[in-house]
Subunit: 401 residues, 2 copies
């Protein structure tokens, strides 16, 4: 599958999506292999709005493995990157030995990796999930690996295993000590629920204070509630969530999503010292959603928050215009601050006075920087156009104009 | 014991303290009798700084029971007030029948009640605890009741039962359906730990959004974590806390206090819809305390938060001056905003540069309105000076000048 760009350099470029969990992953039972203490479930977002693009190349002329992330060379020796590289090479070697002893690409060749996100890291979206999924997918295509890639991506960043598939994806925690059954599986494809929409409300450009790796370690060590959540709450909730997705039951999907986000943040607060990812703006968004739903006596909108203050909103297409207008009303943006809604265009809507009164909150100017309007999307894929490679024929990042 | 102020009006005035739980009460197993789902433990604060004063009077000339709170007449028929009145009268009647069939005060006489706090209700301190303790204590003195008053006060407001005693007070959840074993007990008297100090950091004058009665109801109905906390976490924690208090082990006392506050707020967040009592300023205080302790590699200061954003800080006398100065540094008060520290005077202290650097937070001007410096104090007591009665000889509130 690898495209040969010159006699000496084999190269491929792929893209991979961001995913947003509706049943959250928080806590590892094995730090090395990245095995979680509970299963989780996510929605893969569409790459038209949010994606990582990665070019991988290999050549006998490369002196060493190298990686560039968002234009800056990074240390290739970080353990999680090495886990993924080693594992992909091991799988490639295994396949060669089995099937194709004379393959064109020598596995001892060094690789160059160049990766960019089309969204700011500061937006607080889980760029590591898309990043590791893209890395593992690209390398597997370059080196001709045909194995369960979610197991490899998981060893880069836990939630990355869910970005290996499109649509609605379950990460089964598994039972085995070697992690071979801790895999992602598609629950439903991206075409399953076409009316579902996703809004990312970018609350703040602040970087998160506590990284998720160390945060979840402290939680596992100190929170009695986290253990109870993982052992007793999540299993039943996963079953309910899978049924809600399969049956396109929005109200149940939405309620479980909100409850699980709240419980994840509750276990962060039960951690010692406590971890806070929600801020006062996040809390206002939560109140806004509950009052909006209460006004309609129907669960039309759900929020979820990862390890940061940004809200991700799930809702059905028919309610997007009105809800966006509601957000704009209660978080009036800067008038000269560029476009407030990015992504899929949103028609303007008028707000019923009763709705504004029912929400009844004091507006918070500039509380939300912008909204990304997106939907459910497919998994990683290769980019056919060779002009889109991020590395040049020399194996070094192209100069961006 | 009742003082007769005129031929026709019997009157007594008492005061009662505020208490601040270090193992929190959140959730009832019986709404009517106010029986909790877990035991709790609190510190009674000194009445020199924070107290409720209540005058109760009875007379054959009063037409009906009446109550004035903080200068305003309130509805005497609210169920919890009626629970306390009925229960005290029942106990008084029982005693009369047993001991003193010809007592001077006829129990069919109506009562007038007048109560004031020496702290603003808006300060978010649990005024209902001091209020009900004071009401029940005053009525018991007026009517000559000699029973376990914590059982009566509990039926006014759960945490009020702990304000019936000074020092360190446990509210045992009990097991019986009729609540007769759900009583407060003194774990240690107010003289037990003379070095212990309490700072109330008044974060905001906002009234709490969700009242604790309805809040804990929703928590019991919706939070899986709350049940686990009550059943599995609190029992062991209570034992540890009692040992820490008895042994004056500040580090353990402090750590358990912080963990329990965090866990209470975690169960609020796990409630659906979620309940938030902490705001961004509360979180900054939490971070400040952890960084302060970390700097000294010793737990010198503990925070706890009730159903509101105000922090209550426990620490030892020797560290008060420096910690107050630290708070002043990171939450600089308005220069013309009156005294920043009320209550027990605090000497000024200089702050080591290393401490400021170690805390390393951006100062938040006016984040904290003022601090009340207080200590552990005694339980309710009668006021001897009859000029301090809040009701006049006519049984109506005295005009305040």
């Amino acid at each position: 599958m690898a495209k040969t760009c010159s006699e000496k350099v084999s190269m491929i470029t792929c893209t991979a999506p961001v995913n947003i969990a509706v049943i959250k992953y928080w806590g590892k039972r094995d730090e090395e292999l990245i095995l979680p203490i509970n299963s989780s479930l996510s929605v893969t977002l569409h790459q038209d709005q949010l994606k990582t693009t990665t070019t991988v190349a290999c050549s006998r002329n490369f002196q060493e493995d190298r990686i560039w992330l968002n234009g800056k060379e990074e240390d290739i020796n970080q353990p999680r990157l090495q886990s993924c590289l080693c594992e992909i090479r091991r799988l490639a070697r295994k396949r060669r030995n089995d099937e194709d002893p004379n393959a064109e690409i020598t596995l001892s060749h060094r690789v160059h990796i160049c990766s960019v996100n089309n969204f700011p890291t500061a937006a607080g979206l889980a760029s590591s999930a898309a990043g590791y999924a893209c890395l593992v997918y690209s390398l597997s295509r370059l080196l001709g690996v045909d194995a369960e890639l979610s197991v490899v991506a998981r060893q880069g960043s836990g939630s990355a295993c869910r970005s290996i598939y499109g649509g609605f994806v379950q990460w089964k925690m598994g039972e085995r000590q070697d992690g071979t059954d801790s895999v992602a599986e598609q629950v439903a494809p991206e075409t399953h629920w076409p009316e579902l929409r996703v809004l990312v409300l970018v609350v703040s450009a602040e970087r998160k204070h506590v990284g998720s790796t160390s945060g979840m370690q402290t939680s596992v060590q100190t929170s009695a509630l986290l253990k109870h959540r993982a052992d007793r709450v999540v299993p039943a909730r996963m079953d309910d969530m899978i049924r809600a997705v399969q049956g396109r039951d929005f109200a149940t999907f939405a309620e479980l999503t909100m409850k699980d986000s709240n419980q994840f943040h509750a276990t962060c607060l039960d951690t010692f010292p406590p971890i806070f990812y929600l801020n006062d703006i996040s809390r206002r968004v939560i109140n806004l959603v509950h009052r909006y739903n209460q006004h309609y006596t129907e669960t039309r909108v759900a929020y979820t928050f990862d390890a940061g203050p940004n809200a991700v909103i799930y809702l059905l297409q028919d309610h997007v215009a009105e809800f966006v207008q509601t957000v704009r009303h209660f978080f009036p943006p800067e008038s000269n601050g560029g476009e407030f809604v990015k992504g899929i265009p949103v028609f303007s809507a008028s707000l019923p006075d009763e709705l504004i009164r029912a929400v009844g909150m004091e507006p918070t100017p500039k509380g939300i920087s912008y909204i990304i309007n997106t939907k459910v999307g497919p998994g990683p894929c290769a980019v056919d156009d060779p002009t889109l490679h991020l590395l040049g024929a020399d194996g070094l990042p192209k100069k961006t104009p």
